[in-house]
Symmetry: C3
C-alpha cells in the first residue's frame, strides 16, 4: 500500500464530513464526539429504540459499541443496525468486553451475525472471544497472553485473516501492533505509543472514527488502515508534546489536538504499515 493512499483517505474525511451515528458507552462518549469533530466529521448519539431509525437514516455510518450495554441500548443497536444495513451504511462493531461477560459475548455475536458489519474493531481478547476461540480476557483490556507481538505476528495475522474470511468483513485488532485484514489483504501497523492505553477511550474513539473513514472511502480495507494509522500517528504526536509535569490528562488533550490538526501529508510521512 502506498502511503499517499492513506493521505487520500484522511483528506476525504475532511472534505466530505460524514455524519456518524454512535451508539456507544457513556464512559468515553464525549471523547468519541470530540474525536469525530476533530477529524472533520460530525457525530450524533442516539440509543433510544424509538429514535435510532430516524437518526441513522440521515447519517452515513454507524458505530455500535457495547461498552456499557443495557437492555434498552441493545434493542436500539438492533433497530439501528437493521436500518443501517438496509441503507447500505458503513457499520463498525466494537465488541467491548466480549469474553468478560455472557451478555457482552452474546450481544456482540448477535450483532455480528444479524447486521453484517463492514468492520469489527477490538483488542485481541475481544476478537478471540467473538470468534469463539479461547481467550483470557479480563475486563476491557486485552490480556497479555493474547496480544500480537513481533514473535507471534505471522500466527496472529493468520488468525485475524481467517476471522475476516469467516465473518465476511474487515477486521481490525488493535494493540501495540495493530493488524487489519479483509481476508485477502492483511497488514500490520506499528504506529501508536504505550501511553494510549493509560487513558480510557482510545479504542472507542478509533471505532467512532472508522465509520467516517469507511463512508468517505471506497475500499474498506484501505479506509480502515488509514483510520488505524491516523489514530496511531496522533498518539505519537500527542506523546511528543508531553513535557515537565504533563501526565495522562494532558496526553488526552493533546490526542484530540492532534486529531484536529493532523494532515494527510503528515499521515503519509509517519504511517508505518507493513503488508503481511
Amino acid at each position: 500500500m502506498k502511503s499517499t493512499e492513506l493521505a487520500t483517505c484522511l483528506d476525504a474525511v475532511r472534505a466530505t464530513s460524514p455524519l456518524v451515528h454512535c451508539i456507544t458507552n457513556y464512559v468515553t462518549v464525549n471523547d468519541c464526539a470530540n474525536a469525530l469533530l476533530a477529524i472533520g466529521a460530525s457525530p450524533i448519539m442516539s440509543d433510544e429504540p424509538d429514535d435510532v431509525e430516524d437518526i441513522t437514516s440521515i447519517c452515513q455510518g454507524l458505530d455500535l459499541n457495547i461498552g456499557t450495554l443495557n437492555r434498552r441500548s441493545i434493542e436500539g443497536m438492533g433497530r439501528a443496525g437493521a436500518k443501517a444495513a438496509q441503507l447500505g451504511h458503513a457499520i463498525v462493531l466494537d465488541p467491548v468486553g466480549a469474553g468478560a461477560s455472557h451478555l457482552r459475548t452474546d450481544t456482540a455475536r448477535q450483532l455480528l451475525e444479524s447486521y453484517h458489519p463492514t468492520l469489527v474493531r477490538g483488542n485481541m481478547s475481544e476478537v478471540r472471544a467473538l470468534g469463539g476461540a479461547s481467550s483470557s480476557t479480563r475486563g476491557v483490556d486485552a490480556s497479555a497472553a493474547d496480544v500480537a507481538t513481533r514473535d507471534n505476528l505471522h500466527e496472529s495475522a493468520g488468525f485475524v485473516a481467517r476471522l475476516a474470511q469467516a465473518w465476511g468483513c474487515t477486521v481490525a485488532v488493535t494493540g501495540a501492533i495493530d493488524i487489519v485484514s479483509d481476508g485477502t489483504r492483511t497488514c500490520a501497523i506499528t504506529n501508536g505509543v504505550p501511553m494510549m492505553s493509560r487513558i480510557t477511550g482510545t479504542g472507542c474513539m478509533l471505532s467512532a472514527l472508522l465509520p467516517a473513514f469507511l463512508a468517505a472511502g471506497t475500499d474498506a480495507f484501505l479506509a480502515t488502515v488509514a483510520g488505524v494509522a491516523t489514530m496511531g500517528v496522533c498518539g505519537q504526536k500527542a506523546r511528543s508534546r508531553m513535557t515537565g509535569a504533563d501526565g495522562t490528562g494532558s496526553f488526552r488533550t493533546y490526542l484530540i489536538d492532534a486529531l484536529s490538526t493532523v494532515t494527510g501529508a503528515e499521515l503519509a510521512d509517519a504511517a508505518r504499515v507493513e503488508d503481511l
Copy 2:
C-alpha cells in the same frame, strides 16, 4: 442595552450561585457540570422520574436538553418540568436534534406546550422544526441553508421574534450570529468564534448556564443576552490562547478556563450586542 447591565447579570450569578437541575444528554453532561461550576453556579443531574421532583424542588432553575432522550428521561423531563413550572423556576428547553427525528420533534413540542419554558435555546434548524417551519436540519448541527447571516438578519430576527410571541417566552437562536428575542425586544450578538462548533457541547453548556442567569436575574431577556454574550466572549478568550500545536482539545480546556475567570468588567468590554 448597556453593557454594564450584562456585567451585572454575570456578577449576580457569581454572587448567588444558583443550583441548576440538568436533565441533559450523556455526551456533554460533564462539560455542562463544569461550565456551571466555572461560572459560579452549582449543577445537579437527575433524570429518574422517581427522583426528579425532589431534586428540582431544591433548585432554582431547570435545563431540559433532549440530546440523548429516552423513554425514561422523557418521563423524567415531564415530571421535573411540571414541578418546576409549579414552583415558578426558570426553565430552559434545548430541543437538540428537533427536526432530525420524529421523537425529538414531538418531545420538544410537548415540553414546550406543557411546561411553558422561560427560554428556548437552539440552533436555527432546531427552532424552525419546533416552530413547524420547513427546515433542512441534519443531525445536531444547523444546516447551512438555515443559519442567520448578515444578509438575512432582519428576516431571521423577525422570525425569532414571532416565535417568541407565539410561544410566550424568550427565544435564543445561536450560531455565527446569535439572535435573542422576547417578542418585544430583539437583539443580535456577534461574539464567539467558529472553533466553538468544532467541539461538542458549546450549545449544551450554554443551555445549562442559562437557568443560572435567569435565576440570578430579574429580566429574562437581559439575562439571556448576558448568558449568550458570556459564552461568546469566553469562546474568544479561549481561541486567543491557542498556540503552537494546540487544537480542539486545548480549546475545550481553555473555554472552561475562560468561564471560570471571566469578569463582569471583561464581559462589558467585549460584548457585541446590537439592538434590532
Copy 3:
C-alpha cells in the same frame, strides 16, 4: 501512622493494578475511569443487571455511586453488591445527594444495610443523611452548616467514629478537612485545595480510586487514609501548576496528570495526617 505506610499503599496499587467495577454516574464517569488508569489500576463500567454479576466477578473491588441513579442501575447495584459481598471484594458506597431526595436517601441506606460496604465515602451532609441525623444538604455539595472545621473537629470526628461503629465499616467524610474512621482509629487529613470543589467529580474520582487502594492493601483504614491523602496531594500538585489564564479546565487536566505521576515518596513527604 507513619507516612511511609501511606507510600506503601500507593505503591501497592501501582504494583498490583486492581480491576475495579464502577457503577457510577454518567456525569463524572470518564474522570473516574481516567483517574483509575492514572493511579495504575483498571476500570470497568457496567450497570445492566444482567451484566454486573459476571463483570464484578472478574474484578477486585466495586464502586457504588448513586449520583445519577435510576431504577435499572439501582437493580444493577443490588445484584453487583450481592455478588461482590459474596466474593469478599472491597465495596465502596458513595451516597451522592443522600438527603437531597427520598430516592437517594432510601437507596443509599438499602445498599448500606444489604451489602455491608467496606467503606462509605461522602461529604458531611450526605453521611449525616445516611446516618439519620438532621442535615441541611443541598444538592450534591455539603451545606456550610455541616462541614468539619478546625473548631468542631473533635465533635465531627466523634460523630464519624460513631457511624463507623454503627455501620461496622470504615467511613471517610471529605471536605476542607477530611476525617477517616474505622470506629477505633480516627484521623484528620488536611491535604487538598479549595479549587477541588470548583470542578465536578473530585469526590466521585476518590470513591472510584478507593476500591483499588482497598484491594491492594490489607488494612482498610490505612488504605482509605492513603487514598484520601493521595487525592489531596494531587489536588495541591495540580493547583501549584496553574499560571496565567489557567482556570478550572486546566486544573482538571492537571489533577489527572498528578494522579498519573505522583509517587509513594511524594505522598509520604506531602501527606498531612493527624491522629485524633
